[in-house]
Every structure is written in C-alpha cells, then in structure tokens.
Amino acid sequence: MTGAREDNLAEAVTKGHESAQSIPALLARNVARFGGYPAYREKEFGIWQSWTWSETSEEIRAMALGFLSLGVERGDHIAIIGRNRPAHYWAIVAAQMCGAIPVSLYQDAAADEMAYVMEHCGARFVIAGDQEQVDKILEIEDRIQDITHILYTDKRGMRKYDHARMNALADLKAEGRAGHQRYELELDRRIAELDYDSTCVMLYTSGTTGKPKGVVLSNRNIIATAKASSDFDHLGHNDEVLAYLPLAWVGDFIFSIGQAYWTGFTVNCPESPETMMTDLREIGPTYFFAPPRVFENQLTTVMIRMEDAGRLKKWLFDHYMEVARKVGPDILDGKPVSFGKRLSYALGNLFVYGPLKNTLGYSRIRVGYTAGEAIGPEIFSFYRSLGINLKQLYGQTEASVFITQQPDGEVRADTVGVPSPGVEVRIADNGEVYYRSPGTFVEYYKNAESTASTKDPEGWVATGDAGFFEPDTGHLRIIDRAKDVGKLADGRMFAPKYVENKLKFYPAILESVVFGAGRDRCTAFINIDLAAVGNWAERNNISYASYQELAGHPRVYEMIREHIEEVNESVAQDPMLSGCQIHRFLILHKELDADDGELTRTRKVRRNIIAEKFADLIGALYDGSSEIYTETEVTYEDGRKGAIKATLRIEDAKVVPVKPMAEAAE
C-alpha cells in the first residue's frame, strides 16, 4: 500500500516541482522537498504537537479517502466552520483533492447568517469545529436541504447526538485509511484532474453592504499570488507564522495555505483563542500579520502596565522609547545614523526593546503586515521604532489579498505602498481605484450580475475605494470607500472614513461614525474604548457602574471633545476635506456590535444600518437639541433580544473656520 503511494508521490515530483498547479500538487512537492520539516504545529494539552510535511500529507490523504467513502462528488461544496486548527486546514486541502470546493465560514456568525451562506453555496458536507457549531447547523437544518453529512473535530459533548448523518473527523480518517484500497485510484485520478483553472476555494465577502457574495478563487489566483508575494518578502521554508485570524478570511487562506504550501513554511495554531498572546510569544513567528486592532490592543496593554511600573523602569522606558522614536525607523530603513545614536539605540535594545519584543512575541519577526483598516501613525511608528519591520498592504478578497504593499525601506503610515508584483493599478476619473492581476477572482458564485458590475471584460476590478498615487513616491493613498465619499449640502467633499480614522487613533475612541452627506455640516457618533477609558477613569478617581454611565460622564465628554477639536484642526489643514470638521457629537450608550448588525464580522462600520437604527439620534444631532432619550434593541450572544434605554447628551465641538468654498467660487 505505501509502495503505491510513494510511487504516486514520485510521479508527482517528477512531473516537475515548479509546474505544480494545485494545492494538492504543491503538497506532494513539499513532501518531496521538505518531507521531514514541520508543516503544522498546534498546542494541545499544553504541548506543541507538530506534523511534518510527510505526516501532513498522510493525514490529508486519509481525510480525502474518507470523503470519497462518504460520496463526495466533484464540484460539491464542503463548508468548514471552526477555529484555526490543523485538522481544518487539512480538510480544506482534502476537499480540493476530491475535486470538491472548500468554503470557510466565520465561526462567530449567528445561525441565520450561516443559513444564508450554506443555502447559497448548497454545501452537502459540513465540517464543524465543536458542539456549538454543530448545534447551529442543526438549528438551521430544516431550512437547508442539501446537507447530507456533518463532521465534527472536537468530540466533546457529542456523544448523545444522533449519529445517523454525523461523524467525528477522526473517525472519517480511520474510515479513509481502512478503505484506501477501494478509493486510492479514484483519489489519484481526481488529484490529477486539478489544474490552474480549477476552483481552489470559495470565500464569502464580509458584506459591508447587502448579502455576502461568494468569491470564487482558482488555483491560479492563489498560487500566482502566493508566489509573487513570497518572492516580494523573501519568504522561505524556515519561516514561521501563527494562524489565528478567521479561516473564512482571505488573508488567512493566503498566509496559511497559499504561501505556506508555496514556500513550505510552518503554520502554528494556537491552543485556544484566549491563549493567542502566550502562544505568539512561545512561537515567536518570523512572518506575522495582524489587523491594526491587535497592535492597538497590545500597545494599550503595554502602556497601561508601564503606568503601574516603578519609577526607574518607567524612566528607562520613557527615555529609550524617545531614543527609538528618533532613530529606530531610520535604522530599520537602512538610512545613515550617527555612531552615538546607534550606540544609544543598542543600549535601548538591551534594556527595553529586546525584552519588550520578547514579551510581545515579536523577537524574531522579519516581516510583519497590517491591513484591513488604517493604522494610527503613532502606533505604527511605535512598532517600527522597536525594530519590528511592520508594513502595510492593501488588498481585498477579490484580489486574493494583494493589490499594493510596501517594499522594505519605503514604509510610511499614511500610504499603502506600491502595486504588488504582477498587479496593475489605475485610478478612474472619479478617484476610484481599479486593479488587474493574476490573483483577480474568477466570479461571484451564482451572481453573474455582480460579477459583471465589478469586473469588466478586460479584467479590471473596481475596489470601491477612492484613492490617489502620490506623485513623488508612487505610493497609493486610500481616502475612503468610493460610495461613502459624498458631498455636503454646499458641495464640499465629504469623506467620513478619513475623519473616523483620525478619531480612532485616540486610544479612548473605539469606533466613530461621521454623518454629513447632503447636510450643511458634519456630526459624529463616538464609541468609547472601555479598556482605555476605564483605566483612565480609575487613575482619575472617576467612579462608574456601567458602560453606559461611563460613556455619559461629563469628564469623558470633555476628553472626547478635546480629541475631536484636535482632529478638526488637522482636518482643516487639508483644503479638499476641510468641510468634514465635526460640529456636534454624542457618545453612544452601547458598543457597536456585529451581533446587532452594526458592524460586519470583520468589524467594519455598516453605515446604512446605523443610520436607520439610530435615526432619532442623528435627527437630534441636527435639530439643535442638547439631549435625547432613546431605546435601542440589542441581541445577546445566544440570540435573545433586549433593550437599552438611555438619555444621551449632545455637545458642540469647536471648528476651525475655513474660507467657505461656495463663496470663493461665486
């Protein structure tokens, strides 16, 4: 039996390494090349367990044989809902081996949202991480007729379930191993059928507007993108990543499958979501990706802990962080720095940066990326000044992530870099960014209309974002979502995201929503960051009993108003956007939440829904009233509904007078 398999492998290898045109083919290549090196690690029972590429291949094959024994057909959709675990990544590749199409779903999605996606793709098989996910599937099972079998990874609590159409994933593998003689030939035939144009994966967009759309990505998209981006950052098989971002997100797919299979690096899975920070430190990845939120949270934690540190430590920290701020980025960019400053930085590295990076788990980082949202310049330069090569990239699901990214040595907080290798970018007349690349998606599943409106016949895709290239550097700058960019009543430009991002750079502000399209002036909702403001309140002897009370506290209002006025000053500097200064604001009594539909699962603000839901509050922002009573419906984690009642205060913020453009024009 193993003889036959090794022959297959040998055959796949002799077919040529570089011409591997599917993930399963890359797997075979990796077995031949890096067979004994670790492919996956997962911390379980307190110990890092690891699987070499050879072992991984064996596991995946067993799983694929199991799928065949269940009757998986070519073109079937297999839904995968669970946290980052090797078994789930294996299931994705095993599905591909069978000619089926893996579809990853966000595991924190409510049953209803899940039902839509399952129904849309017609998934016949579901791989659920644990009992919680199985329960959700069972809950919606009567609405989706296509499901023939459910497989689960974690056996816990599953004993009492009706197993007529349900199995543990481990049992499936055993089944596959037992039936290998029957299915081996068929599996090899199906693997051989895969080529550059067969579907690699289908991922659903987060759906900032409307229903999520299924983005079909081919092997060409994924492999070409993985190759280009791995070359760009010189990734190799000795690199380590920590896989902790949602499986359903295209970024995780590119990093943990695309690039991992292309370069053969090791994917490490945390023990549980709560232990991510500890696991990060234990692994010390060399290649790391995180949304700005993660970096912000870490910085906040560091700062809060430094507030409580002893005087000597605090002095050391402040002194050397100052040194780092001045020379760190230059040293990282390879610019000339005097010997004295280098010496000072080296001492700082010994006393502060080294231990700090070690605590954060960033000691070994060679390349780090942040994307998804704008990152605060202070946060960005904090990490860079420590000597962490943190860069920005700009991308989307439809592009298999990469559109632009920052090359080493050309990193700035306010741009998103130059077009990635192989990607063409152009700016339309209305400012919208278009791109064309080998990673450009095939289509939206069962939605020819949207496909046509997004991707033109020549392959140019509209990003929906407005931006421009900086003339002197050639770097792309993104202003806002193109459809959100509007006009004030007097015709001045309105770009809410631009202002919101500036606001969100303050640690006290978690989210903000700016209104003003078609109005005479701008106003804003503010969401405070409970951790940061709570800590601030504690240090300033401000007592509070609830989020709501803290949010409505006069001193919190005062602080937020100061922030807004600073932002107004900075916005006023930009002649194009000076109309976006915030005249009035209120602090929301509840945190905006994806469960209430106010944010997407990737935590982007859904403007329309917020505008509809809080219409009364927006009305009050414009009618001049100083407070408003409101009731808001909230959804708890288990789906129950409740209501929050509150009286919110509305305050004015100072704006910087600018020459009104309308007058100037007249």
């Binding site: 029972f45 307190g46 609590g157 004993r159 009492k160 023990e271 549980s272 709560e274 232990t275 500890t278």
Partner: protein, 273 residues
C-alpha cells in the same frame, strides 16, 4: 424506579446503573443538636443527584456524611456493595470520592496547574526519596503521566489560558472552575459539589451547568450536588432529595419534587392557623 439493581433511563436517554451508594437511616447529632434525622436514600451509578432544602436543612452535613468526613451517629453507609466504616481522608480519596467546597479551598499562591496537580496526589506512588532521584527512579515518567491527565482536564474545562496564573489572581467564577478541575483530577467515581454555582452570574452558571453535564457524559462520573438555584437543579439533575430541618421531605424526579406539597410548604412557608 424502586428496583434495587436495575437502573433506569433518564428522559434524555442516558442509562443510569445500579445503586452505587446507599444511605440507610442516617442520623447525625452534634451534642444535643440533631442535624440529620433518620434519612435514607440511594445514589445510582452515573446519575446527577441533587440535594436541596432551605438554609440550615442539613444539606452540607449530608454531603459530609456521604464523603465520609462525618461518621453518622446512627445508620449505615453502603458503598459499592460494602458497608463503610470510619475512614481517613486519603482513604476516602482512594475510594474515588472527591469534592468541591462551598467556600473555595484552593492554594492561592500556587498556579492553576499546580493546584490541579495536587488532585493527583493519591495517584502518585513515588515517595520523596524517589522524587529526589527523578530520572533513575521513574519519578519523571510518573510526573509526565499525571501531567497528561491534568492537561486533559484543563482542556476539558477550557482553562488553558490561565494554566500558569496564580489562583489568587483569578476571579471567583474561574476559581470555582479550578476547584472543579482539582476534584476531577482525582478521577472520582462520585463527585460531590457543594453549591457549585453560588455567587455566579447567569453566564458563569450556564458554563458550569454545561461542564457538569459534559463531565457526567464524558467520564460517567456520578455527581451529587447541593444547589440553591432551583432552575439549575431542576434542569440538570436526574433525581432530587429535599431536606428540611434535618428530615427528608421529598425524593424523586425533578417534576415529582416540584409538585410535592411538603416541598412547596418548606420553601414558601405554611400559614400558621
């Protein structure tokens, strides 16, 4: 349900086995105070058995009799078919009885992991001298085996993220969970829980209920619990003993007990006429 050695099947389809422990005519007196008066009931293999009653009804005393910590003034305790005599605490543990306490009794300065490891003490045979030898004496291997068991419990109770945290720094709800973990580490046949949900919020209670049901399901552990939250008791237990002033006033499935007039009187009070 009265047949002695046949089990029964619960409404949710679990097979409950024969009698594991039988308490016959237990009376417990402290000097002139009668804490428990002539109570008999049994605990069956694999069931979740609740003891409820108003404050001072003698529930905790009953639990102490079950655990063997108190020796009843009168009456007999039969465990696994044998009549049980007076025992030392380590003998109780070796018999397969573990408990958690109404007031948390953990070692505050020790990490969660070490606290749970103490639950394995009776399973570790190597003495101090052997442990000093470490590699040569097999003490290392014994430690690994036990650590493995403990890690499985940590995984089960989802406390991986606080593994190395000193217990003193944990919030109350998590301490309760650590205490449960330590009791589980002894791989008990019967697990006694003294008010496992006291002082918890709704979410913590739900979690705890899930853990109790899951461990009963996963390890087949028989559970005896005292609890004040009626919702919880009625939801998760198979049979309920109701006590009032040291007497048994009801015994049966949650629904039977709920409709028992004596129980209603004990909880709501009776008009004096």
């Amino acid at each position: 349900m009265k047949d002695m050695n046949e089990g029964y099947i619960t409404p949710d389809g679990r097979q409950i086995g024969g009698v594991l422990m039988e308490l016959k005519n237990i009376t417990l007196k402290f000097g002139g105070v009668t804490a428990i008066e002539n109570i008999s009931f049994d605990i069956r293999d694999g069931e979740i058995r609740a003891i409820i009653g108003p404050n001072g009804a003698g529930k905790s005393s009953m639990l102490n009799v079950i655990s063997g910590f108190y020796i009843p003034t009168e009456g007999e305790v039969w465990f696994k078919g044998y009549k049980r005599g007076p025992m030392k605490p380590y003998e109780i543990a070796r018999l397969g009885i573990a408990r958690t306490f109404q007031n948390i009794a953990l070692f505050d300065g020790m990490s969660v992991l070490d606290n749970i490891m103490t639950g394995r003490l009776t399973k570790m045979k190597k003495g101090l001298l052997a442990q000093a030898g470490w590699w040569w004496t097999g003490a290392a291997r014994e430690e690994y085996e036990n650590r493995d068991k403990v890690e499985r419990i940590i995984d089960f109770l989802e406390i991986q993220n606080i593994r190395k945290t000193p217990v003193g720094r944990l919030p109350y709800g998590l301490k309760k969970r650590v205490e449960l973990a330590r009791a589980l580490a002894a791989e008990p046949k019967i697990l006694l829980l003294d008010e496992p949900m006291a002082g918890m919020n709704v979410e913590e209670k739900e979690d705890m209920c899930r853990f109790i049901l899951d461990l009963n399901d996963e390890f087949g552990t028989t559970i005896v619990l005292i609890e004040h939250d009626m919702g919880v008791v009625m939801d998760i237990s198979d049979r309920v003993v109701v006590m009032d002033y040291g007497k048994k006033i009801g015994d049966g499935a949650p629904d039977e007990v709920r409709n028992n007039q004596a129980v209603i009187d004990a909880y709501l009070g009776v008009a004096h006429d």
